[in-house]
């Protein structure tokens, strides 16, 4: 008898990769934006 393949580890793996990449993208973009705007305000004040 052929054993059926459990698909759930693949589903969890795919969502893990996707969600991690998106969280990193949003966090990186947010931090870069805040840092750039802070630097602009500092340069403006000088």
């Amino acid at each position: 008898m052929r054993e059926s393949l459990d698909h759930w580890p693949y589903v969890i793996g795919a969502y893990g990769v996707g969600v991690t990449a998106l969280v990193l993208l949003v966090a990186f973009s947010w931090i870069a934006m805040k840092r750039a705007e802070k630097r602009r305000d500092e340069v403006k004040r000088r």
């Binding site: 393949l5 698909h7 759930w8 693949y10 589903v11 793996g13 795919a14 969502y15 990769v17 996707g18 969600v19 990449a21 998106l22 993208l25 949003v26 973009s29 947010w30 870069a32 934006m33 750039a36 705007e37 630097r39 602009r40 340069v43 403006k44």
Partner: protein, 226 residues
Amino acid sequence: MLAGGAVGWGLFMAPAEALQGESVRILFIHVPSAWLGMGGWTGIAISSAMLLIWKHPLAAIAARAIAMPGMVFCAICLATGSIWGRPTWGTWWEWDGRLTSILVLLFLYAGYIALSQATARSGGTDKIAAIFGLVGAVNIPIINRSVVWWNSLHQPPSITAGNSSMTAEYLVPLLIAVVGFSLLFGAVVLMRMRTLIALQQVEARLRRRAMDDEPALAAQPAMESV
């Protein structure tokens, strides 16, 4: 919230599919990523055309802002597609038209980011990256038609203009996921645009200050010698 809700719906509420089994749930993240990976480059091509034709100052910034999220979505598409392929096709990767053209798109994104950063650093013109963005757009119809033109493991398009071979229980959460991920993509592009504009303002201000200081510095040694 829309993206999270649709992903939750796809993960926990949508039923397993007869042929694909539980791995059908991967499509709720794979398909929006594929569309946004291709949509991202379409955005770069439109912005590049706007830069070359109308010389709009925001066009170059918009194209550069789109590149990073576009590349991330393209990479997610490849990774999730590969993971989906293992239980469904029995292989992680197949060098067929669709997979290879998406991989080419990922390399195009990497090339565009490297080129636009290099020209921005060296003070070069944005036109080189814009031409690259326009030429790279040739790959978009190739990706779209690849499953029709060549024999492929990848299934033909399930959703075409005004028609869908998907049942509502998969189609509705998938469309909500597409809207949600598109809004997330838009938010990231706006953040990247704000970052690039702020960096340009810093550079312009520092350059202006350096130019203002230059005559004073040039005059200083002359005064000392007198």
